[in-house]
Point group: none
Chain length 243, copies 2
């Protein structure tokens, strides 16, 4: 279960293990999980390491502690899914469509002023540029250009981006995607968009500029997307913050 020689931190392995135990029902709601000392003993790791794993799960709301009694499984939080930050792939699946991509270009280039500013990098810092036509049910839906700091996502290959970039970032690089700021506007299709989206010149497109951040606030992704206005609507929910 716990592999000390793995490059994945022990506390993270334990976190995943406990989470899986909760999800498969081996640990039930309001039931005490094994004590910190027991985990330490069982897997021959330090109690402080166990604490680090449990602390994270407490912060994420999976567990709660009671001094002198133990640590218990929390009720699953009912997430409001609609407003979540999702990739194109996740978005399309949610809408019941089959997502696919056509890769136009994939290269490392020096960041121009806009990209550098969005990713909080110095100008000309190397970044991946990935340009794709995004398809839904095999019909062009959007023209998307993604920029990633080259030093953050080393070893990116065509294969990976054909799978799920977000999955790679979260599961392999072990980075935690936290939040994103989006800017949405309407525009007339430019030459390149006319060509790849198979629309007429002057047709309206929905432009979405997104900057995504890791938990520590580091920007890790800047995406420019141009969606076909006749095929795509952006949907989200908002809460009223009482003044």
């Amino acid at each position: 279960m716990i592999d000390k020689n793995s490059p994945i931190p022990i506390y993270h392995q334990l976190e995943e293990y406990i989470k899986s135990q909760i999800e498969c029902g081996a640990l039930k709601v309001d039931e005490a999980i094994p004590s910190e000392r027991e985990y330490a003993e069982r897997y021959q790791i330090s109690r402080m390491t166990v604490r680090q794993a449990i602390n994270n799960l407490v912060n994420e709301g999976y567990l709660y502690r009671q001094k002198g009694r133990g640590t218990f499984v929390n009720k699953q939080k009912v997430e409001q899914k609609l407003q979540g930050l999702t990739s194109f792939t996740e978005d399309m699946l949610e809408r019941g469509m089959k997502p696919s991509s056509k890769l136009l270009s994939f290269q490392i280039i020096p960041a121009d002023i806009q990209v550098a500013s969005r990713l909080k990098l110095k100008e000309n810092t190397p970044v991946y540029e990935i340009q794709r036509v995004r398809l839904a049910d095999d019909v062009p839906m959007a023209l998307e250009t993604t920029y990633l700091p080259a030093n953050l996502v080393k070893g990116l290959t065509e294969e990976i981006i054909n799978q799920s970039l977000y999955k790679y970032i979260e599961d392999t690089l072990l980075l935690t995607i936290s939040e994103a700021a989006q800017q949405i506007e309407a525009a007339s299709a430019k030459e390149i968009e006319v060509k790849h989206l198979e629309i007429e010149k002057g047709s309206p497109v929905l432009l979405i500029l997104r900057t995504s951040y890791l938990q520590d606030g580091t920007p890790f992704e800047f995406v420019k997307s141009a969606y076909r206005a006749d095929r795509y609507k952006f949907v989200h929910t908002m809460k009223r913050t009482s003044s």
Copy 2:
């Protein structure tokens, strides 16, 4: 500053101290705070204790870490407020512009199929229809049509809607606005939008359809807005919900 004999845990004392330093401006946004080792040395406490204090502040969003560089002060939550549900008036004030309106029509009409569906009413139920040109710094920004169930917001007058509708609903009718669902798309300006927004035929516009709900889930407002694409961008933030 740090009292080892206090019954208050050391890490908590340090937390409060760092927070006060942020609030009084001694530590500025995006500025590095002293390193963990420096705090440990300065107050003769263990680095792990310092880490515990800083961890908590990171989890609460006061600080963010960057491996190899240091720990930095985060933007205050006030700057992260943009995501809230706001009226046009509040939105423009937030952007530093002067909002105003030109009332085009104000009447009670039977709900058509779209409006009835959005407000969860039967067709032909009476609703207020308010059509306005929204101006920012005296320049047309959007054409907006609002629908309100007549039985929910009785006694609506032109005066009230020239003030703040949200204020009236919350302060006078004592209804609590909870959340809204929005649908954002791009389109080409229609005849009526061309006329009132002073744009050319075929210009792109940003369409925003919003349904707002009270705390008990009752829809109380349906708004159709067409914004000038060259003057308005919709901005918001999203959180990543871990799968």
